[in-house]
Symmetry: C2
Subunit: 231 residues, 2 copies
């Protein structure tokens, strides 16, 4: 086997992300607590996010717009302009929030680089925000390529592998989402290592979990180099 190219997902694989969304969603619940219980807010927000995905794609700006729609809907349009401005400020705070690498990421990436692997980031979301996060993570110099994509499906991975002239057998994807990081890569004949994160966004849950192929799972990112050596 050629020394494989290792690609890492960004959000919740290299750096914390869902905790930021969860914290913001708690603020949304607090702002709207006078109108409806938290469960209604969570359910409405998820429904809005799903409905808006085809127009907004992934990312903080679309999430902020979905929060505003949720506030208008659950308050029967009585939410105030000042409260809506607070939701926009929450979105802006997410976009300028420090990027916190997950424990152990630095050492893992550096050790793989020393072994001579070609290293990539493959992340989805808003182009501008993701570029900014890669830069703010302090990890950018360790990677040979950063690919920011709008959706992580088989066609996306195939296009990336073709463009970089990588055979699927020489490619390992490392990520926290079975739906976005693992299944499409396995379907192409590549390798994938699942590193679960504490929280998984409902929209990232894989359908049909009964039919999943066998999936290599790491307890933490620190286990990844040894698992790659053993492939």
């Amino acid at each position: 086997m050629t020394l494989p190219t290792i690609a890492f997902d960004g959000d919740d694989t290299l750096w914390h992300n869902e905790t930021l969304f969860a914290g913001t969603q708690q603020h949304l619940r607090d702002i709207l607590a006078v109108h409806v219980p938290a469960e209604t807010i969570d359910r409405t927000l998820l429904a809005r996010e799903r409905a808006n995905l085809a127009l907004f794609g992934y990312g903080v700006k679309g999430f902020t717009l979905s929060m505003i729609e949720t506030a208008i809907e659950v308050s029967d349009a009585t939410v105030t302009a000042a409260e809506i401005q607070r939701l926009i400020e929450l979105g802006k705070a997410m976009l300028s929030s420090p990027v916190n690498p997950i424990d152990g990421v630095d050492a893992v990436v550096e050790s793989l680089k020393r072994r001579g692997h070609r290293l990539m980031v493959i992340t989805k979301g808003d182009l501008f925000d993701q570029e900014s996060k890669v830069a703010r993570s302090g990890l950018a110099d360790l990677f040979d390529a950063v690919e920011i994509v709008s959706e992580k499906d088989e066609a996306t991975y195939r296009a990336i592998l073709d463009r970089h002239e990588i055979a699927p057998a020489d490619f390992v994807m490392v990520g926290n989402s079975i739906r976005s990081d693992i299944l499409p890569v396995l379907a192409l004949g590549g390798h994938a290592i699942h590193v679960p994160y504490a929280i998984t966004w409902a929209i990232e849950h894989a359908d049909n979990t009964a039919d999943l192929p066998p999936i290599l799972k790491a307890g933490s990112i620190a286990e990844v180099p040894e698992m790659i050596a053993g492939l």
Copy 2:
């Protein structure tokens, strides 16, 4: 000279875009007309867009959030939730609006393709929205590569040329924005043809117009193939 690669800007070069923003801005003025005159709305919106650019980048979702902030500001936070929902609907309408190619684009792109030029789109904005626009334009199959970027500066163009192994002397950029499509390419030693659009967004205006280098200017996109042949 090697047969050059020709790259086209998307918004307002291949397809109409500013007209869509201008139409939406007129709706914003109508909704807020009870609060302040149109000039105040336009000035506040532009200030918000400028202030938000570093967090939101370019694109419709950020524009929609800036419209909401403008509505809250000029109404002294008296704008209603229902009016804000209308602004979000305007943003969604922009994202699903048909993509109208500019007159003559099809013939120009096909003629350059027949002559054997490698053809690209280099466009900036929201990744998801721009991918969708390229697809909806019906032009996607004519291009060898589509590059969606967060900013069009010298570094961006240099990275694209490097990645595609194109010498600047063998590269022609065609676009409507002197700031984004022309000046950075000329600075790299590439060629550029300016095809003005009826409206230029204030943020795209070039600074220091006194110091501009000589710029090749086409009256319409139909003149571009002959100008390229004469380079």
